[in-house]
Symmetry: C2
Subunit: 231 residues, 2 copies
């Protein structure tokens, strides 16, 4: 049974945690799978390191800028929906009032209390638009400072995640031991990442660790098999 | 000025469109950047094709399963918050009633009309919990069938996006022309993808096409530079 119900909510939805999870989930998985896959096809650790670094650079930039553009799109989407609702409140007043009535009628209000709510809400245009944004469209106003922070968080998380599987290929003397250490270190990192992610999102940490390991393993297995086929 | 305001809303938020965008944005960018980057470091198209296919397999699986787990997490998060709200409505009735009062007081309701709304909402437990889920927490009930569809949509979009930059390396006679055709075809695909994405999300299609091209170009440029450094 929940004891301190509201305390954790904000953290669960923290956008920074979400950005770290987005970047690190792919950062730990894809460069690891690529390097493991290439080890089935090429004999030089230098080619694997080169491909891995190129992938990390490409992935960090693509995901970071993708996050930046997504945050900007959210802002623009919110602003355009807000203009649209404001326009509707001004120009289609009867239809908007009917929408508010429908929403509250759906929650069981009727008669004088329904009239009172609708009249109170419709008496202040700003509040009315806010209500429609949040309730009809389910949109919350995005923080305008999010976009660059989100981009940097995702990119750095991808970079950090991607360097873990790649370091053994940079340091180990031969391909076989590089692959072995990469599998071990990345396995530990994936399980730890999954457990922490599970704890933050309210899922059983063991289950989450197992899922994260499974995704990494399947991705690396598929990459290995495909690279082996084409080598 | 908007003429048919509500018709487009649903499509804008379509989860399938979002999944295609998630998969294809990275699928067009990362394998393209990896292949272009490797062309600065290795002389064999076969190594590039092998690395590219391994990356596409790893990326499609990692992003697809990542989308699957994210959809499952959303479902579990919704269910656990719903249990929590139901528990609160049963066991912390006074506090929950105060929360409802605060919400509507914030929209300008007072006195008898505020009492009427609160009483009506609190008279039906299911409706009350639904209201708190949607309004206090901003959560909508996820479709339980989403997770596998989301996974497949993201994975296939990544695969389709990733094969466009890679096909020239499979078909062209030499590395130089493969790189050239890959840049041309992927540039066209990125611009078209950006324009369609812009149209669907309500952003200027030219601006969106330019942004998508820029992300692909920066990722490929960084991968090329890094691979060149390490070759």
């Amino acid at each position: 049974m929940p004891s301190a119900p509201h305390a954790e909510k904000h953290f669960l939805g923290s956008e920074t945690v979400r950005d770290v999870v987005i970047g690190m989930a792919d950062g730990l998985t894809v460069p690891f799978a690529l390097a493991a896959g290439l080890s089935a096809a090429v004999s030089s650790t230098q080619v694997i390191v080169t491909a891995g670094l190129a992938e990390i650079a490409a992935g960090a930039i693509a995901m970071g800028l993708g996050g930046y553009l997504a945050a900007r799109t959210d802002q623009e989407h919110y602003a355009s929906e807000q203009r649209r609702e404001a326009w509707e409140v001004d120009n289609m007043r009867a239809a908007e009032i009917a929408e508010v009535r429908d929403i509250f009628a759906g929650y069981g209000l009727a008669g004088a209390s329904l009239d009172a709510v609708v009249t109170a809400l419709a008496s202040d245009k700003k509040r009315w638009v806010d209500f429609m944004m949040r309730f009809e469209l389910g949109l919350e106003e995005p923080d305008p400072k999010r976009a660059p922070i989100s981009a940097a968080t995702i990119a750095v998380s991808y970079l950090v995640g991607g360097l873990i599987p790649l370091l053994p290929y940079m340091l180990a003397g031969n391909l076989r031991s590089a692959l072995l250490y990469s599998v071990i270190f990345t396995g530990i990192a994936l399980a730890a990442f999954g457990a922490v992610k599970g704890r933050l999102t309210g899922i059983n940490p063991f289950k989450s660790a197992f899922q994260t390991l499974l995704v990494g393993g399947l991705a690396a297995g598929a990459a290995f098999y495909l690279a082996h086929l084409f080598s």
